[in-house]
Amino acid sequence: MSDATLTLSPTETVINAPATEVGHDPSMLISMRDIWKTYQMGTEKVHALHGVSFDIPRGEYIAIIGPSGSGKSTLMNLIGCLDTPTQGQYWLNGKNVSEMDDDELARIRNQEVGFVFQTFNLLARATALHNVELPLIYGGVGSSQRHEMAQKALTAVDLTDRMMHKPNELSGGQRQRVAIARALVNNPSILLADEPTGALDSHTSMEIMDLFERLHSEGNTIIVVTHEHDIAERAHRVISIRDGQIEKDERIR
């Protein structure tokens, strides 16, 4: 809720509003048009996002950066289909997800989005392999195919020898790699990482960022949400969010 408590000056103007056109670009993987997210705080309406528009093509490595309370978490929740916008249109992989109900969103999350969280969010009682299988279970994949896919994903993050370990038997870096394998296993359209190195030491952070780079080079679309500039600089494009709006959208390599 921290995003919702920010106070906005009423005189604020839209700084960077390139895409006000209504239609979306079907060639883009993500297409956001004039997205608003408004929270009702008692009698007051708080705009966590006002009028955000951008496009992300397939295969891009993009960082969304902004200070605490800027609205970047709200944006991440929208991109990840955990929430729907109050107003505006969001196309993900050709589907308009801005007006979907809970179960349709669950399906989109299952098929199109791979989440990587700051605190890993693995199931403590399940093995690494089972954690990675979980999205496939909800995707309705048969058990032998599920095993095979989960093993492949764990191999891809160099955890071949840790498959039967539970999260508390793994280091922080290893846990995050299990989470990345889980995010990848369903072959999602986007890999969405929320402060993926926030709970890791600097050495392990670099390893995880190297892994992202490799996954990007292999054709995955990666979105990293962070407040750390050195993490954001590993991306190819950086969108800066401030006070619920896009402050800057620049290609850095």
Binding site: P135, G140, L215
Partner: protein, 446 residues
Amino acid sequence: MIERSGEHEARPPRYTYARAILPARITSHPFFRLAAVWEAFRVATGSLRANLLRTALTLMGIIVGVTAVIAVVTIIKGLDQTVAQTFSSQGSTVFTISKNPQIIKSREEFIKFNRRKDVTHEDAETVARLCTACWRVGIAANAIETVKYQDQKAENVRIRGIEPLTMFDIDGVSIDAGRIWTESEGASGREICVIGPDMLKNLFGDAPADQALGKEVRIDGRPYLVIGVLEPLGSIFGFSRDNVIYIPYSTYQKAYGGRRSLVVFIQVPAAEQLEAAEDQVRTIMRSRRGLAMGEVEDEGFALETQDVFLNLYGSATSNIYIVTIGVAAISLVVGGIVVMNIMLVSVTERTKEIGIRKAIGARRKDILTQFLIEAVTVTALGGAIGVGTGFGLAYIISALIGFPLLVSVTSAVLGVGVSSVVGIISGLWPAWRAAKLDPIEALRAE
């Protein structure tokens, strides 16, 4: 940067996960996913194992309820069989004429029956002569006495005066040692007797049957010569059927007088003829009591089969059933509330887990199913344990009292089934609360 990318190229491509190689996107979304159900079951058993004490306490109510039902049902089924076997030894081919029915329900009835005429020897003779459907007709009169042999004493012995000798067959008893009296002895009024096997135990210090033969026992002070010993019949509901002494009716009359009401026993060759024989006997008796056909006033006598005992037994056990089902229902309701409470705690504790599952694609019904399965797993487990302890309890009691143990699969299935239904009902609300949690809020929980 260059160094790293160089290293990357040197390695073989470990990540074979590129889009092109992947299997086709899964598009089927059936409502009921077996994998998700199995996952739910694994999670359920896992969390039950992780909180063993809590699980045990949760199970208590369900266990108590199911145990009570299973134990009572099993015990009563065992008793049913004992009762059925016992009464069939005398059989449904026998009925009686008596002054009073064997069960008197009220004071008014008692007064009414007492005004009736006694059933007499002449009644029995007339029935024997006129009833063509009757096979064997006999009379019996009972007295309860203390019996002595030397310094040994047996209390509350049933002294049964009978006539003719076929009454032994009607009663379904047979001789173990010695003999029964002859017809002429039976008519002579001599003090001879045939003793039930309990007399051996109580009077003769468990001596073999033939050692009692020729001995003299004293019934109400009068000496009787033992000429035979009966085979044991066993006991029913703790009452021995072997605590009996048979004497000829003529002897009984001498000792106790002829002015007591008799019971006439009538046996038919097969159960199908029972009704016809009863009709004939009723007609004969009504004419002897001076009643016209169809007169609705008191008949003045009671025609009964052993069914009256069975009916009494049946109504007694059905009351026990009703009480037990009441107790079980209460404990199942309490058990259900406990399960609901624990499920609500479980949902709160696992809010984060629910958030994770939702983030990676669990739908509402997946979460709903998960918690429902958890609730049903708890209650079904409680039901299964209850079935086990119920049968165990019934086994102990049946071994103590001495009746057969009949393990009924139906009641076992019913016990587990009903507990599962309790699980569904009490799990529904907690599961629904879990299912409609907002994933963002849930992920934030700790």
